[in-house]
């Protein structure tokens, strides 16, 4: 039972991580109608900034805060320099342009930080496992990830649904020209939204950095899973992204944890051991297929599009 709870926590934690990445992606896609493949690059940039700033300041929280601000600035700069040229164009142009950005960022990081990668070590107070129940130890840092993500989700909800800025963002998503005609600086608004999305990606990257390592191309594999999340959740819906992230995180983790044992019941030990990792990594795509068949618009379709 304790083992099951631990695996569920693993699933929730993975889901939260995915939400941080998917939220920015779905925000940019839903509001700006922009397919941003370079989202994974911003995730990587956030992680590199965090590793660098924490190294300079010798203070984990300060370094992380600086990295967030820096990623926000990079995101806004990317919007001004590159993304503005892409609005209103075909989605295929977005794909091409932002794929170019992936290559650009990978090479830039290689030039600035070298090919070897970095680490972001946790401070001692975070690098412990805490007893949640008798016999159930869980890494404190992973609990922090869950808490931070829930806070971010609440912040996004309040920002988009309850503030004047959020109202403008939603209005801009419905009708860009009309909002502009009413005297709102829509360009600035979009730059802000893109920067916010970038900061979310950077947050995901720097939160993940102490668990994984900081390396070139670290955002590319996880970006695909983030796309799966927003397709399942309904493109443009932050609520959908939240629910879908939890779904995907749980299915992936529970699949990895229990699927091999199930397979062992029907296959030989050897065959099960080899087949299980391959099959369990397919589960999230099967989930996506099922959702697309039953609800092609995703779980929480956005009605105003």
């Amino acid at each position: 039972m304790i083992y099951f709870i631990e695996q569920c926590l693993n699933g929730v934690q993975l889901g939260m991580m995915l939400f941080l990445l998917a939220a920015g992606l779905t925000l940019i896609f839903g509001i700006m109608d922009l397919v941003n493949l370079a989202h994974g690059s911003l995730y990587m940039v956030g992680a590199y900034f965090a590793a660098t700033f924490v190294g300079w300041t010798d203070n984990f929280l300060l370094g992380v805060a600086l990295a967030l601000v820096a990623t926000l600035i990079v995101g806004m700069a990317v919007e001004v320099v590159a993304m503005r040229r892409l609005y209103g164009r075909d989605h295929l142009d977005h794909v091409l342009g932002t794929f170019g950005l992936i290559l650009f960022f990978n090479e830039l990081v290689r030039l600035l930080w070298g090919p070897a990668g970095m680490t972001l070590p946790l401070p001692a107070w975070l690098n412990v496992a805490v007893p949640l129940l008798p016999g159930l130890f869980y890494p404190l840092y992973r609990l922090v990830i869950i808490a931070v993500t829930i806070a971010v989700a609440l912040f996004l909800y309040v920002l988009v649904m309850r503030t004047r800025l959020g109202m403008l963002i939603r209005a801009g998503a419905s009708n860009r020209e009309m909002v502009g005609a009413l005297g709102i600086n829509i360009k600035l608004l979009y730059t802000l939204v893109f920067g916010l999305g970038a900061a979310l990606a950077g947050l995901a990257g720097l939160m993940q950095a102490p668990i994984l390592t900081v390396q070139i191309g670290m955002g590319e594999n996880i970006l695909i899973v983030a796309f799966v999340v927003i397709v399942i959740g309904g493109i443009g819906s932050i609520r959908g992204a939240f629910v879908a992230s939890l779904f995907v995180g749980m299915v992936d983790t529970i699949g990895r944890a229990f699927f091999p044992d199930l397979l062992r019941l029907i296959l030989t030990r050897e065959a099960a051991a080899t087949a299980a990792p391959a099959l369990s990594s397919m589960l999230i795509y099967l989930l996506m297929t099922a959702v697309l068949v039953l609800r092609p618009e995703g779980l929480f379709p956005v009605s105003n599009r």
């Binding site: 083992y3 993975l14 970095m118 680490t119 890494p139 390592t213």
Partner: protein, 403 residues
Amino acid sequence: MEQARSLRLMLAAAGGALALGGFLALPPGTAVAQQKAIKIGFISTFSGPTAVIGNDMRNSFELALDHLGRKMAGLPVEVIYEDDQQKPEVGKQKTDKLIESDKVDFIVGYIWSNVLLASLKSAVDAKTFLITSNAGPSQLAGELCSPYVFSTSWQNDQTPQAMGLYMNQKGVKTVFLIGPNYAAGRDMLAGVASTFKGQVIGQELTKWPDQLDFSAELSKARAAKPDAIFVFYPGAAGVQFLTQYTQAGLKGQIPLYTAFTIDETTLPRQKDLALGVPGAQQWVNDLPNEQNKRFVADYIKKHTGSRPSFYGAQSYDAGHLINSAVVAVKGDTAKKEDMRKAMVNADFKSVRGNFKYGNNHMPIQNFYLQDVVKDQDGNFVLKTVATIVENDQDRFHDKCPMK
């Protein structure tokens, strides 16, 4: 309609990113067109997170050429480096290119067993000598052994076998095995199980190379309550595994035994996480022979701030093995049978100390226990603690038809 189109586009885009994600600028080959030169193709990973291993192999191979005066039997040497991107299909493509269009005399390198297995047939069919300076899949030692293939490393099972013996010495009764799901990962786990006398109470293979979060596997290992965990994660994955193992609070609870998880390419990032975690290896940087002292000292001199790893040591040896063959035929690389006979003798000074070749062209060699220590400058370095097994021959040589 718009929505459905967007979805399709995005999926296509995501797929495109997956397919092309590994695309990065390739390091240029050091090709200098010359009439009579010894041509060597070198395949390793020069892009992506494991490029650091490929760089170490290239640095060491270049150092071997420096030490040979950049000539073999009086002929200049031309090396063409190719990036396999850690993908079997790319590795095979590059192997074909080296054989068919560059017409190399030797192909060296291969970090990954799955890349080597995909590329092997091309080299064997073309009767081009292939020197694997890392990968050692069990198939290559057994039924797929070839007169044209030599190893300057080991067969995959051997190193974990040595670790299994060491776990017996330490009185470990139950073990949980974790490794990546590809040719080498499966060999490694089978290897440790073959010599370990206690009980293997669990085994997890993870998706390779893209699964980087091991929380589910670590939870499983903890729930199984073993005496020890054995793990094989080469390259950056080793850093990730060790980090997560420590964060999960397992470091004080269940001791870790490793193969190919801690080395000079990962230690700068593993740092104190690696202290007290034993590993086995056929080469350690402090082995007390003259050739090794020279290799390590000159490597550190040439590449300030980095230290050679076993990947490099094996590539350095590969350079000298090739030289022994070329010298034996006085540069006439058409005499393949004579070159093969020369290489079988392993007649060169290996940095691991001298070794013999078995019938399957796999080294018969010692394996050492290594530990991580801090040197006087505060750097983390590997150090030989003991010899676990002497003159060890891989367990597949009987299956090799060569006598």
